[in-house]
């Protein structure tokens, strides 16, 4: 029983980490209908920049984080100026291809700027197990993962308020619904794109910090984007809470599958379980758990 609880908690925490990456996808998809393939690389790039700034300029963590946020905003502006602006009114598949190219450019840029070796990221996040849980209940829970969970909750609340209650948030949702109409009421697509890519850059930074602190900043970080895909299919591409809950379901599901199905059909279920689950969901509920319903008036 204790074992199951421990596995569940560990699954939830892993899920939060997936959600952090998935969030960045949702933001950009919501506001521009673009599936940003480069989201994972953005997390990697943010992580690399953060470590690089701390090492090369021996900045304290807080200063490096602020500087990295500035870099991510600059990056968003550049992406708008060099890529998105040129592709206004093109089919979504073209924009998707552009983000694919962007992923490679960013990866290369990260390499050139900061080198390609695995880097340790330590910005002073708590490490090790939570003592009292370990002592009193014999439960092993990583402090880092608790920090990630708390960060994720804060981020979701802030983003939800931003999207639902503010003028810019409303404009973001308007652009997501209908580019043309948004233009016609005087919403500047360029401004909106810069904002949304900046926000998603900051989210990528948070994901980069959490994953980087856990397993070092390295190239494989960009591949966690693949794990975010099933999370999105489960939660829905357009829902922020969906990204979180989707992540949790995947995280817990993986652990449970490993425990209960592992012995029966052989191990390593964790690697593919998420994709199977996503496939099943696609068949039953293609818009995901919380995705926007496709409105069709008859």
């Amino acid at each position: 029983m204790m074992f199951l609880l421990e596995a569940t908690i560990s699954g939830l925490m892993a899920g939060v980490m997936y959600s952090l990456v998935a969030l960045g996808f949702v933001l950009i998809f919501k506001a521009s209908g673009v599936f940003n393939f480069a989201q994972g690389v953005m997390a990697l790039f943010a992580g690399l920049t953060l470590v690089g700034l701390m090492e090369k300029f021996s900045l304290p963590p807080w200063a490096a984080i602020i500087a990295t946020i500035a870099v991510m905003i600059l990056l968003a502006w550049l992406i708008e100026f060099l890529v998105l602006r040129r592709l206004v009114n093109q089919a979504p598949i073209i924009l998707f291809m552009a983000t694919l190219g962007l992923a490679y450019v960013l990866e290369g840029l990260g390499d050139i700027l900061w080198g390609s070796d695995v880097k340790l990221l330590d910005i002073g996040l708590p490490q090790g197990a939570v003592d009292w849980l370990l002592d009193d209940y014999n439960l092993y829970v990583e402090r880092l993962e608790v920090a990630a969970a708390v960060t994720a909750v804060i981020m979701v609340v802030v983003l939800a308020v931003f999207f639902q209650k503010t003028r810019i948030g409303r404009a973001l949702r308007a652009v997501a619904d209908d580019h043309q109409a948004a233009l016609s009421v005087g919403i500047s697509l360029r401004t909106i794109w810069v904002i949304v890519w900046s926000v998603s850059g900051v989210v990528a930074l948070v994901a980069g910090i959490m994953w980087g602190s856990k397993s070092g900043v390295q190239f494989s970080l960009s591949l966690i984007a693949l794990k975010a895909l099933p999370v999105l299919m489960l939660g829905g591409f357009t829902s922020i809470p969906g990204a979180i809950i989707g992540g949790l379901i995947i995280g817990v599901g993986e652990k449970w599958a490993e425990i209960y199905m592992g012995p029966i059909i052989g191990g390593a279920i964790e690697n593919w379980f998420a994709y199977m689950l996503a496939l099943a969901f696609l068949l039953v509920r293609p818009q995901g758990l919380f995705g926007e319903k496709i409105i069709e008036r008859i």
């Binding site: 009114n89 003028r167 949702r173 308007a174 997501a176 209908d178 948004a182 016609s184 009421v185 500047s188």
Partner: protein
């Protein structure tokens, strides 16, 4: 209408001078369209499908560029200032907003949120915006009842009201209204046009109206232009146009005497009338 004195210029809110529009660098859509909208007037832009009505409106509001269209010749003056190179955002800020054909509501936003997006460019504070929201609801009481519904689930008439109300939220001096009658029941069309007229009279909003429904458009406007394949072929006071034989025959559906082919008659008659 075509006086060039300062007095006339001051009373003209929008002036389009001989514009040519090309899509994708090759497709010539407007071949020299000129028109004027007097301040506080309702001007109708009439013509069949593909005549260039929507293109003219988009050229003015500058939504054209997002569709790879371009104004290659001529000038557009709004309140005496050249606006041909501005962004739609600039134009809305200056008080000229387009209500697009086919309504284009934000489907996943509620009716009220839709209206609020119209106030995006405003900088005069939440209180003023709130007051204008009340104003829009007073013109469209039906929208107040449905304010919490997603716009995507409202009826076609309600969506048209949302689209017009949303434009109104930007505190416009001028609205470019594209085909408000599209897909609506005749009764509803009348209702919408009555509200448009009220807006024009009470709020002083000038209106340039593109319509296929010539009958109703001429009923509610002061002046009309008739476009045919990218050119203005006829213009005049709305009352005159309604009595014009050509307009009657080709746009109001009052049949002329024994014509064989619609197109032949049209050309023949027009040549005769213009060249005479």
């Amino acid at each position: 209408m075509n006086q060039t004195t300062d007095q006339a210029a001051a009373d003209t809110i929008l002036s389009v001078n001989n514009i040519e529009v090309i899509y994708n660098h090759v497709i010539l859509v407007l071949k020299g369209v000129s028109l004027d909208v007097p301040r506080g007037g309702i001007v109708a832009l009439l013509g069949a499908n593909g005549a260039g009505k929507t293109t003219t409106l988009k050229a003015i509001s500058n939504l054209l560029r997002a569709e790879r269209g371009e104004v290659t010749k001529g000038a557009i003056l709004f309140e005496g200032n050249e606006v041909t190179d501005l962004t739609p955002n600039d134009l809305v800020t200056r008080g000229c907003i387009q209500v697009m054909e086919g309504r284009h509501c934000f489907e996943h936003l509620t009716v009220e949120e839709n209206l609020m997006t119209g106030a995006y460019t405003r900088r005069d504070g939440a209180a003023a915006v709130k007051a204008d929201l009340e104003l829009v609801y007073s013109y469209f009481p039906r929208l107040r009842e449905r304010r919490k519904s997603l716009a995507g689930y409202t009826s076609g008439g309600e969506q048209q009201m949302v689209a017009i109300g949303r434009a109104l939220m930007s505190k416009p001096k001028m609205i470019l209204l594209d085909e408000p009658s599209m897909g609506l029941a005749p009764q509803l069309v009348e209702e919408i046009f009555e509200i448009v007229r009220k807006l024009n009279e009470q709020e002083g909003v000038s209106i340039l109206l593109a319509e296929q429904n010539t009958n109703i458009a001429l009923k509610y406007s002061n002046y009309g232009y008739i476009l045919e394949s990218g050119r203005v072929v006829l213009d005049g006071d709305a009352a005159e146009l309604r009595e014009n034989e050509d307009v009657k025959e080709f746009y109001l559906g009052v049949a002329g005497a024994d014509r064989k082919s619609f197109r032949d008659v049209k050309h023949y008659k027009r040549r005769k009338r213009w060249l005479a």
